[in-house]
């Protein structure tokens, strides 16, 4: 593990203050890998963090990125994914209605990943569990096209593993504040900060670099809203749509 005094640290501190073009390459392809070996950083789990004030736990964001199986990384594979969603369209609508806590969900294919982005209220595991109970079949149709998905089907009989898998494929939401980011790292490492170096906020960018190596895809922040959060049912009730 690196400490304050190591040559590498001093070197990096200097460089990242005065970046030079060659450093970009050196940094990305040589330095960061060495550094990551010296200071291993675990992948941070995905998804929204529950708020301390329970009332704030509405309109949380899920950014689920599921890599298609190797054999599906082709126009045909992507078409299969598109069909899996289209064929389950009615089920998905009925599911959203019955689960009652999802504002909206959308499916996107990006670079051979099938992605599901949604905004939901309350606890993440409750949301996924209720979804499995309501439209597990639709999930099965999607997940069977995805790497690592076979072990989870049928999701109705692998509820815990399925929720865990989704959690792992949900993007880490990089907090907007350094203290929150450090807290996430500390939580993951158990106990409190590992070394004084890790606590030093001036070195945050380095920790962020290493974290973004461990979590290559992330969400920046946890979504920004133009108005305070309301639950689906609050909106529906207010608009007299029934809830």
């Amino acid at each position: 593990m690196a400490n304050d005094e190591s040559w590498l640290d001093r070197f990096v501190n200097k460089l990242h203050k005065k970046p030079k073009p060659w450093f970009k390459y050196f940094g990305a392809y040589i330095l960061v890998p060495i550094w990551a070996r010296l200071t291993p950083v675990k992948r941070l789990p995905g998804g929204a963090r529950p708020a301390i004030q329970p009332g704030d736990n509405v309109q949380s964001m899920m950014n689920l990125i599921m890599p298609l199986k190797r054999e599906n990384r082709s126009p045909i594979g992507r078409a299969k994914a598109a069909l899996a969603i289209a064929e389950n369209r009615d089920q998905i609508f009925a599911g959203l209605d019955n689960v009652g806590t999802v504002h909206f969900a959308r499916f996107v294919i990006v670079n051979d990943n099938i992605c599901m982005f949604s905004f939901y209220d309350g606890d993440f595991t409750n949301y996924i569990r209720d979804f499995i109970a309501t439209i597990g079949g639709a999930f099965n149709d999607v997940v069977k096209l995805v790497e690592g998905g076979d072990a989870l089907i049928p999701c109705e009989e692998n509820v815990e593993a399925f929720i865990q898998w989704i959690h792992e494929h949900d993007l880490y939401q990089v907090p907007d504040t350094p203290t929150d980011f450090l807290r996430d790292q500390e939580d993951l490492n158990g106990d409190k900060a590992v070394s004084p170096v890790n606590d030093d906020l001036t070195l945050l960018p380095r920790k962020l670099v290493l974290q973004l190596r461990a979590n290559a895809n992330v969400s920046l922040g946890s979504g920004y809203r133009a108005y305070p959060g309301f639950s689906v049912a609050q909106v529906r009730k207010k608009l007299e749509l029934g809830w």
Binding site: R49, P50, A51, I52, Q53, P54, G55, N57, V58, N98, V99, G100, T101, D121, G122, D123, T125, N126, R129, D130, I132, A133, T134, G136, E156, E157, N158, V159, E160, A161, I163, Q164, F230, S231, V232, A233, Q234, R236, K237, W243
Partner: protein, 473 residues
């Protein structure tokens, strides 16, 4: 039909005739000796108290004895890692890792828990003794701890069921429990809710969520017929609660719609004499819980407590819906057949509750001193609660984070927390009292009456599982 002899007795039975309860909080000293102890606890040999099963045969046991294991406990006993991996995440992580979800923040945060809960990884096994008399607890404790090589006693917690099943805050508790399919109906107060599938409380059986099964840790002897328990030490600020009722009563006394809650002249109906203030206090207390303090459900009798009223035969539809506040404790915990946001979740988050008060009863004849802002001089008192269900995540945690706190199940309470046991902050908390006219009176300023002082997620193994663990090498 389930084989009751394979289940630990405290899962389906309340041991109501054994009001004294002591929890021995234990750490495995030597795994070999601890496993021998487990074998003895199944057979009742070598002085170790015998585990009480769900089948008592003809002889009622004098005392009852049951155990729960934490994840660390299973590990310390040598459970193979392939089996350990099959336990659900929340159990593996343990209660302290789930603090934010459970509302264990601020003064309830695990960092503030006293010993032995400040070192959660050392808590391996919690043995519970239930007896008619305190002396019997002492005898069984000594028997349980004779072999010092097996377990180290970290600490104990002790409670006593007050006569009439009253708990601190003065409510009658221990009324509602789920009834289960395939189990002889032994509940004291059968109700009209659908019977819960056995998988609500035992691993390896169908659950209430159609087609969903919880993972059963293998081998089958280990997981099958086991269940999970959230053990919670919940401190209750009784003086603060009574003080709040006073404030609320004053507030309603002068509230322009207060007369709708309690028509003038009806004070004595509440059963606490002619004082309007006292009657209003009781009305507030009843609304917060959903039951009058004597247990009468508001859904059946909203105007006054009625000792002749049925205790459980109600639902939150029709008149029952209008009479009981949406945010009342028992309605948040169990919305029964009433309308909720998560339509498929009605009846799916039910829990078996085994709670016992600790600390001396609060003496209303010698009430708090209003000049003292806090109950610093009051002895600690509260509830040693056990919330039992086959999935901690789908039942205890789901209830805690989305229903008790947040109030996601009904848009009329979303954003508020349970008035009795929620993570409340006087600056933001509120509770709506329903009025007959259809409106509500909003009560503000709820402090946190209940704070967490410890707890652990436990696995309650079947008798076959205890034997399996005893046989590990």
């Amino acid at each position: 039909m389930i084989n009751l002899a394979d289940l630990q007795g405290n899962i389906l039975r309340g041991y109501t005739k054994k009001p004294h309860v002591r929890y021995l909080i234990l750490e495995v000293a030597e795994p070999g000796a601890a496993r021998r102890w487990l074998a003895d606890s199944v057979s009742g040999r070598n002085g170790v108290p015998q585990i009480t099963s769900g089948d008592w045969g003809k002889n009622k046991p004098d005392t009852c004895f049951n155990i729960g294991l934490t994840y660390e406990g299973l590990r310390a006993l040598g459970t193979p890692s392939a089996s350990l991996k099959m336990f659900p995440n929340e159990f593996v992580e343990g209660m302290t890792a789930r603090a934010v979800k459970l509302g264990d923040v601020g003064r309830s945060a695990p960092e503030k828990w006293p010993a032995p809960f400040n070192e959660p990884k050392r808590i391996h096994l919690i043995a519970t003794i239930y007896a008619e008399k305190v002396e019997q607890l002492d005898v069984d404790q000594e028997r349980a701890l004779t072999d010092v090589k097996a377990f180290k006693l970290l600490d104990t917690r002790e409670g006593y069921n007050f006569p009439g099943d009253f708990v601190h805050f003065g409510y009658r508790d221990n009324i509602t429990q789920p009834r289960f399919e395939g189990v002889p109906d032994s509940q004291r107060y059968p109700d009209r809710q659908p019977k819960a599938p056995l998988g609500t409380v035992l691993l390896g059986h169908p659950t209430n969520l159609e087609g969903l099964m919880w993972r059963v840790p293998e081998p089958a002897e280990l997981g099958h017929n086991g269940t999970f328990n959230a053990f919670r030490v919940l401190k209750q600020d009784v003086a603060g609660f009574e003080r709040y009722l006073d404030h609320a009563a004053f507030y309603l006394f002068v509230h322009p719609k207060g007369g709708e809650l309690l028509p003038h002249g009806d004070e004595e109906k509440i059963g606490k004499g002619p004082s309007r203030h006292t009657a209003l206090r009781e009305i507030v207390a009843a609304n917060l819980c959903g039951r009058w303090r004597d247990g009468t459900p508001l859904a059946l009798s909203a105007d006054a407590p009625d000792p002749n009223e049925n205790l459980t035969n109600f639902d939150y539809v029709g008149v029952g819906d209008a009479r009981c506040p949406h945010g009342a404790h028992i309605r948040r915990c169990n919305p029964r057949g009433g309308q909720i946001v998560q339509r498929i979740a009605n009846n799916s988050r039910r829990l078996v509750r085994r709670g016992v008060p600790y600390g001396p009863p609060y003496d209303p004849a010698n009430p708090y001193d209003p000049a003292k802002p806090y109950d610093g001089d009051e002895p600690e008192r509260g509830l040693l609660g056990n919330f039992i269900g086959a999935s901690l995540g789908a039942q205890f945690e789901a209830m805690s984070c989305d229903w008790l706190n947040l109030g996601l199940q009904d848009p009329r309470i979303t954003g508020s927390n349970d008035p009795i046991s929620g993570t409340n902050d006087p600056g933001t908390s509120w509770f709506d009292l329903p009025l007959k006219s259809g409106g509500t009176i909003r009560l503000p300023g709820f402090p946190e009456f209940v704070s967490t002082r410890g707890g652990a997620y436990m696995f309650l193994p079947s008798l076959a599982a205890i034997q399996y663990l005893a046989d590990l090498r």
